[in-house]
Symmetry: C2
Subunit: 412 residues, 2 copies
């Protein structure tokens, strides 16, 4: 008898009709004899509706009270699924964060789980119940409701799987697995049967929306095998996200991602002195703006151009901050590009194979796409290109590295 | 510095615009220096919406899970009001039942409050906060969410006022107080400045919707002064519901109520034997149907007609049960009237003044309204009349006992 944690996203529980479908699926798994913990998100659209209400009442709604507000979304889903499972004659109990003592820190809106008391869950499961758990929520050490950040019902599922030492954690979503690229952009994109935690983390961080980054981190830390699967298709095998295995290294590139939600800022002719970066990036970090790529080339005359990317919604705020310090750091001027595209290739095979980056640049050159910035990590190469070439770059790289009969590195 | 509990109903918090109005009112009270606990209902319509979702998923939704579901309504209101008050720069914290340990029994859907831990509320108030509390909800001894029954946010407010030994409990609603009769039916109806707990309980039980019956019972038991007031009018004095005072006895009749949601069932020619009532009313009680008035007149030949009223929505079920036992008790037949009206007059003055009932019958006779059933208590006389005469009877009685220059008992 296995213990399985299943998680259903907002689209999967987006209406009472869909909740019935989810309940049927849960019931079949239970009928096989497995112990089941089911984590649910809020019904699609509900969390946004609640945030909108808060914004009608305050320009800057209290984080503590916003958590009390939006946590109701998952509570409603959990209750409705439990009601349906009981109507199908499966003993079921729902649980909220306070009942399972999902204790987090007090960072409302983005809290981190510190501990979970599994006793009540074990007792419910041992008594033959299906346990339905409201995702996304925790309680602070003071006992107040916290939330774990957008998309964090995945995190609840992984954390429960870890603490329960579950045999599997199945993430049901509206796609049937993790793809080598966004199929809407790359018609040749393929579902991956397996992918390592490290690769999945890079892909999640680079904008692939299937799994929340922190959930993959947590799964990796506690070695929780994740299966990503469609809640609509009946017999999909999905994608297994797990520890790296030797065989995985034979796959050079696992995926290609595209993030066209970035902007680029350049300070020209900056005096290249110690402390320069702190002066520029300190205020930006304090404003909570995430700087992704930074490029600086020291020049012979002691002056340099400094270029970096920020998420597009933060561009105006970032520019205001940069303009304030520009003269102070002796910059000749500030330029920006409103929209740029970041295209990345990810694969643990890169660790052992040289030449991936070179091949990447060659593919882009063949398409006459100019590379504006480059950043690399052990298992990733990212380039920034003009926004209008983003999708073309993604398709070209996908087909070269992952297309039918692709032979990306003949020299290897 | 007074400690005041305020309660706002579903219409008062029915939109973000209305929540802003409520917040302004709360803020003004706080600015006067009072310690404030504010209890809120779900936004108007929300509880019904949630019940409807449950009914889409189950013909008989689990009571435990339905409580988890519908309790979100008050949670949303509490969070939104707290968000607004904080936007107005008033330190505010919201509380749910689990945080205040509002412990109830385990009767989901109609739980009774057993205890409340006031420590956290006192601490929040002493730190200068406004406390906003989600009404209607409690937790069972096992820590599961319970609800206290429809309209029971009043009960939360009164219970908190009792445990906090509040100086006042103000019930804000969409009318400006308790009226001598429903103004929609009696144009001459007047707002009462004061009414006793006992009279208010009779009126709540008889269908006046302003206050929930159990809330008045609880207020009476703990001697919590209630003020019923409009949340829309700015300076309304409302109605004070309090202990009986000597002066109140001078008011012969405080109100006239009408309940046209009743049906009447008659078993004719029943053999008048011991145990008869148990045979007939046992199954009805077991089915959860509330029988209101019962009339039985023993006759000389040992046979009798037995007549009683049930709420109209329960008529069909009651008839099925009665027909099952009718032959068993030797009844000659079962008759029913789909809709009858119960008209009542209430007043503690009746205790000391004879002749109120007689005057009532005289008024109805003048209007040529036939009385089908009569029931009396110490401070109430109720009659059942043909439904089509209900409103006429109410108006006639109101004008006779409570109209301008009414002189109801010239003989007293």
């Amino acid at each position: 008898m296995a213990l399985v944690v299943q998680k259903y996203g907002g689209t999967s529980v987006g209406s009472t009709e869909r909740i019935k479908i989810v309940a049927d699926r849960v019931a079949r798994a239970r009928a096989k004899g497995d112990k089941l913990v089911v984590v649910v998100s809020a019904m699609a659209g509900e969390t946004n509706r609640l945030f909108a209400l808060a914004n009608e009442l305050s320009e800057d709604p209290s984080a503590r009270e916003t958590d009390v507000l939006v946590a109701t979304g998952e509570q409603v889903s959990a209750a409705l699924l439990a009601i349906r499972l009981r109507a199908l004659r499966y003993p079921t109990v729902s649980f909220l964060a306070y009942q399972l003592k999902i204790v987090t820190d007090s960072r409302h809106g983005g809290a981190r789980i510190q501990s979970i008391d599994a006793d009540r869950l074990h007792a419910a499961l041992n008594a033959g119940n299906i346990a339905v758990v409201a995702g996304y929520q925790g309680i602070s050490p003071e006992g107040d409701i916290t939330t774990l950040g957008r998309g964090a019902s995945d995190l609840t599922a992984v954390a429960l799987a870890a603490v329960l030492k579950a045999d599997a954690c199945e993430i049901y979503t509206d796609v049937d697995g993790v793809y080598t690229a966004d199929p809407n952009i790359c018609p040749k994109a393929r579902r991956l049967d397996r992918i390592s935690y490290d690769e999945m983390m890079e892909m999640a961080g680079l904008g692939a929306k299937v799994l929340q980054l922190r959930s993959v981190e947590l799964a990796r830390r506690y070695n929780v095998p994740l299966v990503v699967r469609s809640s609509f298709a009946e017999n999909g095998v999905g994608t297994l996200v797990s520890q790296e295995e030797k065989s995985m290294e034979e796959v050079l590139v696992s995926g290609v991602t595209l993030d066209h939600n970035q902007s680029k800022i350049t300070l020209t002719g900056v005096a290249d002195r110690p402390g320069l970066a702190a002066k520029i990036f300190g205020p930006i970090a304090n404003a909570g703006i995430v700087v992704d790529m930074i490029i600086q080339n020291a020049s012979a005359d002691g002056r340099t151009d400094l270029t970096f990317t920020v998420p597009r919604p933060d561009l105006r705020r970032a520019l205001d901050l940069v303009n304030t310090v520009a003269t102070e750091v002796g910059s000749a001027g500030v330029r920006y590009e409103d929209q740029v595209a970041k295209v990345s290739i990810v694969g643990i095979g890169m660790r052992t194979h040289a030449g991936v980056a070179a091949k990447m640049f060659e593919v882009l050159a063949t398409e006459a796409i100019n590379i504006e910035m480059i950043a690399t990590s052990e298992i990733k190469v990212s380039v920034v290109v003009n926004a209008k070439y983003g999708e073309l770059a993604m398709r070209a790289l996908h087909d070269a590295f992952l297309g039918d009969g692709a032979n990306p590195l003949p020299q290897a």
